[in-house]
Subunit: 312 residues, 2 copies
């Protein structure tokens, strides 16, 4: 039997890294390369676990070291994101949608990087251009990967190709895209709610320097305004700790409900006056902002404006 070639995504795998690895290995198998197998470079997250269970697909083999292995890389090309000792592996192909990373091979290999929303989109294209029909389970995995990486086509990385491919896969998987997207978001919301307060706050936290003030603003996506209600005291305590440890004037957590097209801003710190002037009255540490989804476009600018006006 020939040595296996493993298709594998990045460490801390997300649903695109898992789904792309499985669907591409299956594609290779359909092309007669039976020694190609899917693998993963870390534990499954809650969303990926749900998706595999939903489509009755077993979890790919867990690998922890690349030394001496034959690999096809999907969804990454940075050494730091790859299996340890990736330089000691033989990489046969790279298929991904980020900017080209620092991995180089001694010989020419097939490399396909394309700025689409998900690696799974590129793999679905391979099926279609090779006139191979993905099984319902593979179509489902690729849809899940695309919806996950594009946040249901809402991310600015979403391309027309992602939409087209997903629309073509949906009937094959027997899925309604909107409905399935909602289920994936439910799963992510539940998983978020069960994380530690530090993990929730830290998952997407950035510091901003505005004039004299330093602010920290995190964002977390949930489904339903009350998804994190039972964790509120816990998270506010964590926010105060970060505030003090880093000497920030304000710590804000955007609890964003994409479905409701709104964010709850949770705010702690000495300069609540600045936040109130920017967003209105803060009651019990929170202010509800209908229509607010973007930290960059809808939260940072009003704060900067308030501070600029005061500085003037």
């Amino acid at each position: 039997m020939p040595k296996p070639i493993y298709v594998i995504g990045h460490r801390n795998p997300d649903t695109d890294s898992i789904g792309a690895a499985i669907a591409y290995a299956q594609f290779k198998n359909l092309q007669g390369e039976s020694h190609v197998r899917p693998a993963r470079a870390g534990e499954l997250n809650a969303e990926s676990r749900f998706v595999l269970k939903h489509f009755h697909v077993p979890a790919p083999e867990l690998l922890s070291d690349a030394t001496g292995l034959d690999l096809i890389l999907v969804d990454h090309s940075e050494i730091g994101q790859a299996l340890p000792n990736i330089e000691q592996a033989r990489v046969h192909e790279i298929l991904e949608h980020h900017r080209m990373g620092d991995l180089r091979t001694p010989e020419p290999i097939l490399i396909h990087c394309e700025p689409v929303g998900a690696t799974a989109t590129l793999i679905a294209e391979r099926y279609f251009s090779s006139r191979l029909t993905p099984s319902p389970a593979m179509a489902g995995l690729m849809i899940a990967a695309i919806l996950s990486d594009t946040v249901g086509f809402r991310s600015p990385t979403t391309s027309d190709k992602d939409r087209d491919v997903a629309a073509r896969l949906a009937p094959l998987a027997g899925l309604d895209l909107e409905d399935f997207d909602r289920r994936l978001r439910e799963i992510r919301t539940q998983a978020t709610a069960s994380l530690s307060a530090a993990a929730i706050l830290g998952s997407d936290f950035k510091e901003f320097h505005m004039g004299e003030l330093r602010l920290g603003i995190g964002q977390v996506e949930v489904m339903g305004a009350d998804a994190l209600a039972h964790r509120k005291q816990d998270i506010l305590t964590e926010m105060r700790e970060v505030l003090e440890a880093r000497g920030l004037a304000l710590v804000i957590l955007m609890v964003t409900d994409i479905d409701a097209q709104a964010s709850d801003l949770w705010v702690v710190g000495d300069r609540l006056d600045v936040a109130e002037q920017a967003f209105g009255p803060i009651s019990q540490g929170r202010v509800h902002l209908p229509g607010c989804l973007s930290r960059k476009k809808q939260v940072v600018p009003p704060l900067e404006e308030v501070l600029a006006r005061r500085g003037a």
Copy 2:
């Protein structure tokens, strides 16, 4: 009018870098991107000049600095092979057939590297998969690029895809592949014959250390055994100079005629005995070897064997 995007190959452009740039720009034009134009990063070689003239295609614009330009790179991805100041350009796409080089872009872009014989093969595939028919001139340029880079399908880098694509392009260009390959080799032979002796010897010259001895072996491809006959004294003088300057025991030039499937070995140095034992009697500084085409497989091993036997 939008800013032009130039499709450009490597410095010292060969026929693949020229043909791929022109054919890909034309492909983009057919897709409605009229601001895409071909360019080149250096003077045309004799073969490329012949090919452009043959298909009545004007030479692409000559660029000398990448600063501030919008570029699509074909046939290279090494900074050292690209236009000067390539880091100051905006690179939109990379399409090539070598191993991925050291060029990195700040954002994700389309990168397609595939180990085929010529970049033109990848571009012809784009035409076909987009159901666009290349014009006779474009088909001819792509054929010329493929024949040139694969040495008429003889190079070990040749893939089935190169053969398939060329066979599909040939009727579109109205060309007989064998016949056109012969003409390209004639052009290259004439161009070689007109180079300086140093350029002929140096075009593909490698040093080898075998036990105590250091040898230099060059190779040049010609058509017809007598193609370099009128340059022989000139080249032998150059070979003796290199021998002395580098302190080599032997300098060998393989004058290879692929058509005749044979090489003439021209030999100078103090250890003609070693060469004679490996290849037979050397008369007037040369020995004719029918069937000998590969330096790596047919010239280096017999020399190593002779020296190993003597050392034993």
